[in-house]
């Protein structure tokens, strides 16, 4: 037989509640710095691959060959998708979402909560699409044609999109805590 849950709400759909992270102001500060560092680092992975590709030279023993593959606009499309998704999820107001998922008496079915959920879905879909697109580029452009020395371009692309996603997660967790200033002013 099932024991009743301690905080039972009959309107709840899922057994496991939306995780609510409580972090202090110090963690918030460090997390925000870390998110910025991760974001830029993942972009520099892609920039590094692009610079390498644009300055690639044919091998020394056959100097008249052409370099078989270069990075083109196709390699940048997943990055654009990921960045758009990162911006959408970061610009979302978290308080609407908390009220949407925690089952408050007001705001659970309000139009703001519905819109927040849709916007969150679109943002995460953009990021996941970017990651999937970078994997597609890696496989179709670099692995299947068997460009052995140039797999780094595709790998950097996947790493970049994964880094953007990780940065969005870190920023989300860091931003969901309370900030120090609010506390000081209310006291």
């Amino acid at each position: 037989m099932a024991l009743p849950r301690s905080s039972y709400d009959p309107r709840r759909v899922f057994t496991i509640a939306f995780p609510k992270f409580e972090v202090g102001p110090k963690t918030r500060q460090i997390g925000t710095y870390l998110a910025g560092i991760l974001f830029t680092f993942s972009f520099f992975l892609l920039f590094d691959a692009a610079t390498l590709s644009s300055h690639a030279k044919p091998p020394a023993d056959s100097p008249h060959d052409v370099v078989p593959v270069h990075m083109s606009f196709v390699d940048w499309i997943p990055a654009i998708c990921s960045t758009v998704g990162f911006l959408i999820t970061s610009l979302l107001d978290k308080s609407h979402l908390q009220s949407a998922f925690s089952g408050d008496s007001w705001g659970s079915e309000g139009p703001a909560a519905v819109r927040a959920r849709v916007v969150l879905f679109i943002g995460v879909a953009f990021m996941a699409g970017g990651l999937a697109g970078s994997l597609t580029v890696l496989i179709l452009k670099y692995i299947i044609p068997d460009y052995i020395g140039y797999i780094y371009y595709g790998g950097a692309n996947v790493g970049m999109n994964a880094g953007i996603m990780l940065s969005a997660m870190v920023l989300w967790v860091a931003q969901s805590g309370s900030d120090e200033y609010e506390y000081q002013l209310t006291v």
């Binding site: 870390l34 910025g36 560092i37 974001f39 830029t40 680092f41 520099f44 610079t51 390498l52």
Partner: protein, 129 residues
């Protein structure tokens, strides 16, 4: 008056940092690493600008720290740019590896000087709250 030796020491460190960066450019007649110095000099700016922005509406009870957080994010971005840019340039053989390490060390010295200076002397003159 007590701080005078510290100021002199800090200015020496700052000069050494700029010397390293400029030497890393001038030794190979390749002025790309100068971008690193520019990034590290710009790195403390977002935090100070954004803290001023956030302090402007201190009176309102609905304080949001969006400005401060954005400043921190941009600071992280700039510092990482300063660290990664020379490595990128050296990886594509646009600059020499020695120039890469020299410009990173020089940029780090410049940024550290600015941080330490604002930490020692900026806090006392700033009217925080």
């Amino acid at each position: 008056m007590v701080h005078t030796p510290a100021v002199i020491l800090l200015s020496f460190v700052l000069a050494a940092g700029f010397l390293l960066v400029i030497l890393s450019c001038a030794l190979w007649a390749n002025w790309l690493p100068l971008l690193v110095a520019l990034t590290f000099v710009l790195a403390p700016l977002p935090n100070s600008i954004c803290s001023r922005c956030a302090r402007a509406d201190d009176i309102s009870p609905e304080y949001n720290s969006t400005y401060v957080d954005f400043g921190r994010f941009v600071t992280g971005m700039l510092v990482t740019t300063g660290l990664c840019l020379p490595i990128l340039l050296a990886h594509s053989a646009l600059i020499q590896p020695a120039a890469c390490w020299m410009s990173i060390a020089g940029g780090g010295l410049v940024y550290g000087t600015i941080l330490v200076y604002s930490g020692w002397f900026g806090g006392s003159t700033d009217d925080e709250f």
